[in-house]
Amino acid sequence: MNLRWVQSMISSEAQLREKMSLFWHGHFACRIQNSFFQQELLHIIRTHALGNFGDMLKAVSKSPAMLQFLNNQQNRKLKPNENFAREVMELFTMGRGNYTENDVKEAARAFTGWAFNAAGEFVFRKNQHDTGSKTFLGRTGNFDGDDILNILLEQKQTAQYISRKIYRYFVNEQVHEENQLWLGNRFYSNHYDILKLLEDIYTSDWFYDEKNIGTRIKSPVELLVGIRRLLPMQLENEQSQLLFQRALGQVLFFPPNVAGWPGGKNWIDSSSLMLRLRIPQVLSANDVLDIMPKPDDDVQMGMREIAAKKIKDTVKGGTAVIDWPAVNKIFEKTQREKLLEKIAASVLQTKGKVSNAVLDKYLNTASRENYIKSAVINLMSTPEYQLC
């Protein structure tokens, strides 16, 4: 499931949808063992990735994956479980600090009875639902779960919270308050139309400001997919992708918790940075990788060594056959003296920050093919390549 998604991120024509799906996958973070439920949740996310946020919120909230992960199966009239109600507000819509503990309690009452059956279908269990009156965010009524979600969508704060997160994902980790506020207001008045929000971003002058280009650290999956989009390759063992994901801290379908991957600088520590710089070398077989990622006992149930060893054995040594002729073809019309500049422009998002003098020292000038190969791999092995 993981590898299939990676494959479609690499080869799909609909790159924006894939990129947004990855974003929502981190936003509606869900960590459960049931892969059928996971698959279904991903389907919901992909369907609505560029559609309407409200529709997506409602569909996700009724998915067995999320109901199970956030314990709403256990949320019953006589014994409410607040987990789902809390996270819906804290992480999916408004963000911390915009509601009270009492709002959480009241919302939890409204969500009582939301469950799924043995076939994995959403069901509303009437006799477990608390039909009494609730007071939520200053309003009183016999609210049910749908009412709560609607009230949350009526809050401008929800549009601001979501647009801020998207701003940080697409534009810059450092938020320009005024631009972001404008974006949030537009998102709200466009009734949470995600595509329109993205259009607003892409058609804004500030999006193309120098200071907003190449400032964001790629997530491990973005990095790995990026390498493979530029370099068509046949991996000796696709499972090695999982090893990279684990060692770099982003395994699809296994976000650390309901808050998703923290992202940004959190991706980077000395081990993960050094590994990121080595991966292009490993794939092109200039290097041997011999690492053991941390165990994941939620998945491996104590069988760590066996699982890890299996992958480890396959990653030692040359791991991929890169289709260099295809890469050469991209640059076939470029003159030799312009070649490095051209390659740098297509590999890096940041403009020419790696000095040519340093690069020149490490280029293989034996042939045009070797030159291209060494230029691409070396450029990918730089801190600059970690940014987009």
């Binding site: 520590d269 000395s270 993960s272 050094m274 994941d296 939620d298 491996q300």
Partner: protein, 397 residues
């Protein structure tokens, strides 16, 4: 004993204050290489949820034997500590440490509203958060932030692993993770990396952060590698993962490196099935490695200054399951090993098996009190700032 030049310089930098004293040469004799009082913590993480009840065994508790007809360890098999408690038979060294007053056991350590997912519960222990809070930094990472303000090498806390744990991630600084100082040095010693590193001058904030991390890695790698060669331990360690890690740690402790915290993991203790063999295998690895390590520290006069502590993300259920294993539980015990303990032996009451929460132990000590104690009393750090609020101290150190 001859003093090598390099060694002389290394120690010289540390011992300048006593440099003029005629007896300073004594300081260079091997056992006194590092001045006493230089406190170090070694954290050993039992990954996967170690079964605390088969670690420190309530040998006279009927409920324990009733709930674990196949898994309970008989009183005469356990290593006797007190009339009511025994240790897992594989932990002989811990029994010796108990007998000579250098082991303390804290029972029922946990946190409110425990989470039974390995990952999440480990997150909570690492970040020292409440169970409904999500924090992206770890308690030792924040310690590192406090120690390494404006420093160029974040080596005050390090992990023996290929991948860095959340526990050691701070917001400004992140600890180093490596299995072997030589391997770390070799992978960060490529000419290309060094060249792009020294060529970088100034860019926007994110790229500078990446270069800062890279350059800190390069200089730390060199520093750690050099330190590891100053006083490689002469002690023989078992050829196991933990054995090698503790050997590396010992060699660094005997150098004059500025590291105060070492972090290492052992696992997997996730014994849903066939628990006896798995726990025995891991405890044997632990026992043999700790045996060499404590002997090494003692013969180098460092045992009083090193505190070794163990923890696991949760304990296991009181009742055994149907596959000769145990499922995820809650509160658990922690070990503290050092020659410098103030309180020894069994520090608090054993778990009350008659008072459970849906089949699980209730915690009586919050792990954040343990962290506060270690940070404040052992490392002399500002625990309130690191943990975000004030937790009362315990008395074992």
């Amino acid at each position: 004993m001859l003093i090598k030049r390099k060694e002389f310089l290394q120690v010289g930098s540390l011992a300048t204050a006593s440099f003029m004293l005629p007896k300073f040469l004594k300081a260079f004799e091997r056992p006194m290489m590092v001045p006493p009082g230089n406190k170090v913590v070694v954290v050993i993480q039992f990954s996967g949820g170690n079964d605390g009840l088969n670690t420190v065994i309530p040998v006279r508790n009927d409920i324990y034997y009733r709930e674990r007809p196949r898994l309970a360890i008989a009183k005469d098999k356990a290593l006797s500590l007190t009339a009511d408690t025994g240790l897992n038979p594989a932990l002989e060294v811990f029994k010796d440490l108990y007998d000579d007053g250098s082991l303390a056991i804290m029972n029922n350590v946990g946190y409110p509203n425990p989470d039974r997912s390995h990952f999440r519960s480990m997150d909570i222990w690492h970040s020292a958060s409440e169970s409904n809070e999500y924090i992206n930094t770890g308690w030792l990472g924040r310690y590192l932030d406090a120690q390494c303000k404006g420093c160029d090498k974040p080596t005050q806390a390090m992990e023996l692993d290929d991948v860095l744990s959340l526990a050691l991630k701070g917001s400004a600084n992140k600890g180093l993770a490596f299995k072997d100082p030589r391997k770390l040095y070799n992978t960060s010693n490529g000419r290309f990396i060094k060249d792009i590193n020294s060529d970088h001058s100034y860019g926007e904030e994110t790229i500078d952060y990446l270069y800062k991390t890279m350059s800190a890695t390069l200089s730390s790698a060199e520093y750690i590698f050099k330190q590891s060669k100053i006083h490689p331990t002469a002690q023989i360690y078992p050829n196991t993962g933990l054995g090698k890690d503790l050997k590396t740690i010992a060699s660094l402790i005997f150098s004059d490196i500025n590291t105060k915290v070492y972090y290492v993991s052992l696992g997997s203790f996730d014994t849903h099935v066939n628990q006896d063999n798995q726990q025995k295998r891991l405890f044997t690895e632990l026992n043999d490695a700790v045996k060499a390590f404590t002997a090494d520290l003692k013969s180098n006069n460092r045992f009083d200054d090193v505190l070794m502590m163990t923890f696991s993300e949760f304990g296991r259920r009181v009742s055994q399951n149907a596959s000769n294993g145990t499922d995820h539980g809650t509160a658990n015990n922690m070990f503290f090993v050092s020659g410098g303990l103030k309180e020894k032996g069994i520090l608090n009451a054993m778990p009350d098996l008659a008072d459970l929460n849906e089949g699980d132990l209730k915690h009586t000590v919050d792990f954040k009190n343990v962290y506060a104690t270690v940070l404040n009393k052992w490392l002399g750090a500002d625990d309130k700032m690191i943990l975000g609020s004030k937790f009362s101290y315990l008395d074992f150190i």
